[in-house]
């Protein structure tokens, strides 16, 4: 696996814990179903918690527990499925989530800048992905015409600079 940071400081790989497995020490990711059934476990210093959501699971349901989560992993089933953009944006804009949003699944390099502008922090890519292609695609466009969660400086009109923070 290759991880592409869309913003600096995204954290390392966290293990995803099966629903029936005990929680290990250290940072780990639970499923949305486990979190929903059992609530957010008290980790009391033993590591941070993340949650993994499928594309059809409502991020709004995290509203009550979001402050105790450090990472949300969104898994895309197909690159055409644009729901992930709304999931990420909802986390940032409606739930005010300030932690890491990580996206896994078959996304295209041409979607990296869109994901970044919707608030995604990092991407999990196949191990054989060519990072240079991703960096180049993410740095391609220098202007955007609409607000994003990045609050880029605006004007004149609707324009804002959209150069990727880590696009090189």
């Amino acid at each position: 696996m290759l991880r592409l940071e869309l913003e600096p400081g995204a954290s390392a790989a966290w293990p995803e814990i099966a629903d029936d497995a005990p929680l290990p020490d250290g940072d780990c990711i639970l499923s949305f179903a486990r979190l929903r059934a059992g609530g957010v476990p008290d980790r009391s210093g033993s590591g941070r918690l993340g949650v993994s959501l499928r594309i059809d699971e409502p991020v709004e349901a995290l509203a009550g527990s979001i402050e105790r989560l450090a990472l949300v992993l969104l898994t895309v089933p197909a690159f055409r499925d644009g729901r992930v953009f709304t999931q990420a944006r909802t986390l940032r804009e409606r739930l005010d989530f300030a932690g890491e949003i990580r996206v896994a699944g078959p996304v295209l390099p041409d979607q990296a800048a869109f994901l970044e502008r919707c608030g995604v922090s990092s991407l999990v890519l196949p191990a054989n992905a060519d990072e240079a292609v991703w960096r180049r695609a993410n740095a391609r466009m220098h202007t955007a015409y609409q607000p994003s969660v990045r609050d880029e400086p605006a004007g004149p009109g609707l324009k804002r600079r959209s150069e990727a923070a880590s696009g090189g």
Partner: protein, 560 residues
């Protein structure tokens, strides 16, 4: 041109807009290269090329170029003519969505063509794909006497906002906006995913009526009212809310059930509206607020025409009409009142007798660009009815323009009449089509070639679609014709009573579909029936509404 050198009627690009287009062309060049290298599969490349307007059709690639809100400068029209000459077969096709299509494109040339278009500030961004498409508007925008707000500034704002939108570029399905600034709906607002009507309140402030969930295609639907009055500053926030609900909840398992109209129907109008209003209430609206200074900055990039006409301009036109009945007939069908009494709006018919609706040759495009410079402030409009228009023609010069248009074959006096047929490219070009729509259009056009007969019939729209996707908007016509495949043979199904205007209605199927020759005879019988049953000046639509489909059905099927 205006004093500032900005194009009249459309947004003048600045250096940043040009740099953006250059980046986009580079990106596409890179994507084509990755496809040719095998780094991108065809499945992965397809949505990327579609979002740059490139379709794979029956015989070649087709490139669909956006004409935002249907307004072009003379320089841009010449740029399109040059592409038609260099990369196509010397002509191009204007579509029902105010786009232009080139039908004979090679993949290897596509990035170069986009670069050539960028030289004249044009692009093919989002003319296809599951994203927000070209925003369409009224062909008489900024000119019509009945207009309350010039919709083009807002259409441009929507164009910019929707361009490479980070959240809404991979929607369940395509998404179409139309915006009008006149109470007379000339944009088919309620047949769009979102239809907007700009208006003013008593204090002169600008706001918008918003409809959503309309559309044609396989499941025609009339948009539901969302807001009677949306304040200007909330325009983008509210559009974000509608799109977010659609992106999150629209179906993605079946392409035929994935348009927003299906979501509206599944949830019901009330629940859908509530979902949008909840989203709107919860979102950080300050981020999306459309500030007056933003509107002003974009409006300032539009050139405005200096409307100066001699005091006797209207009198000269009246005298010219009295002196020449052929000219008088053309003026009565192919013009529209301008807000300035010395000016008039003009429809340039792309519907010559027996012609292909919406087609124009490169020579015609160049000639129209010249005429636009001499008669209409170098500005050309494209209508969703596949004609061209000039917005600001001096009344005293109208006869001279008419004579020049006649010499180019662009003065058919048929705007809004039965000869003004709307037609998709059909099976001659399109991979989706079930039937050829162009030949039947040509036969009907020939049959009703007599201008006197057309005038006697009066307002009657014929729209033809080669398949159920309804690019020819057949449901929105007094007489709609739909091509269907019956065991390998081309048949045509007739619908009656549709209109996209303010009294919006979806055409209803008349009866079993017919082979082409019989369908043409059926149209003749429908018209004869109408002429024999109408009272006074009653329009076809009103006769149909008064009597229902029974006499028409009998006329078509009883004798068969």
């Amino acid at each position: 041109m205006s004093g500032h050198g900005l194009p009249v009627g459309t947004y003048g690009y600045d250096a940043t807009d040009r740099a953006f287009l250059a980046d986009r062309v580079d990106e596409f060049r890179d994507q084509v290269q990755r496809r040719l290298d095998g780094a991108l599969s065809e499945d992965e490349f397809k949505p990327l090329r579609l979002m740059n307007g490139l379709y794979l059709q029956l015989h070649a690639y087709m490139l669909r170029v956006a004409i935002p809100y249907g307004t072009l400068s003379a320089i841009q029209l010449r740029g399109l003519a040059a592409v038609a000459r260099r990369h196509d077969r010397g002509y191009a096709h204007f579509t029902t969505r105010q786009n232009i299509q080139f039908n004979w494109i090679r993949l290897e040339d596509a990035a170069d063509i986009l670069a050539e278009l960028a030289v004249v500030d044009m692009h093919a961004i989002q003319t296809s794909g599951n994203c927000i498409r070209n925003v369409t508007s009224d062909e008489f925008a900024g000119a019509a006497a009945d207009e309350l707000v010039d919709p083009r500034v807002y259409a441009e704002i929507l164009r910019q906002w929707s361009t490479l939108h980070p959240e809404f570029s991979f929607l369940p399905r395509k998404f179409k906006f139309a915006i009008s600034g006149s109470p007379q709906d000339r944009v088919a607002a309620r047949f769009h995913d979102i239809g907007i009507v700009a208006r003013r309140d008593d204090a002169g402030r600008i706001g918008f009526g918003v409809h959503a969930g309309g559309g044609l295609g396989r499941t025609p639907a009339i948009g539901i009212p969302m807001r009677e009055w949306l304040p200007e500053e909330e325009l983008l926030a509210y559009m974000e809310a509608i799109l977010r609900v659609y992106n999150a909840h629209g179906r993605r398992d079946n392409a035929y059930k994935s348009r927003i109209k299906i979501l509206v129907q599944a949830l019901g109008a009330e629940a859908f509206t509530r979902a949008v209003e909840d989203e709107f209430a919860a979102m950080p609206r300050h981020r999306f607020r459309l500030e007056p200074k933003t509107v002003a900055a974009i409006a300032a990039r539009f050139g405005t025409p200096a409307l100066e006409a001699p005091a006797d301009a209207a009198a000269v036109l009246a005298a010219d009409r009295a002196a020449d009945p052929a000219f008088d007939h053309w003026v009565s069908t192919n013009t529209h009142p301008h807000r300035d009494p010395g000016h008039i709006c003009v429809v340039l018919s792309l519907k010559p007798t027996g012609g292909i609706p919406g087609d124009a040759s490169a020579a015609q495009m160049d000639a129209v660009a010249d005429l636009a410079e001499r008669y209409s402030h170098a500005e050309i409009r494209v209508s969703h009815l596949q004609n061209l228009a000039f917005g600001h023609v001096r009344r005293d010069r109208l006869r001279s323009l008419w004579q020049e248009l006649a010499a180019l074959g662009l003065a058919s006096a048929n705007a809004g009449l039965i000869g003004d047929i709307v037609c998709c490219p059909g099976l001659d070009y399109c991979t989706l089509a079930n039937a050829r729509s162009i030949p039947i259009a040509q036969r009907i056009s020939d049959r009703f070639a007599d201008a006197e007969l057309q005038r006697r019939i009066g307002p009657l729209r014929i729209n033809i679609s080669g398949c159920i996707n309804a690019c020819g908007h057949h449901h929105a016509a007094g007489i709609g014709i739909l091509g269907v495949d019956k065991k390998g043979e081309e048949f045509f199904q007739l619908t009656l009573g549709g209109t996209a205007e303010s009294d919006v209605a979806i055409g209803q199927i008349l009866g079993p579909s017919l082979p082409e020759a019989e369908a043409v005879v059926a149209i003749e019988r429908l018209v004869e029936t109408y002429l024999s049953l109408r009272t006074g000046e009653e329009r076809f639509l009103d006769t149909y509404r008064r009597l229902g489909n029974r006499p028409f059905k009998e006329a078509v099927y009883a004798a068969a």
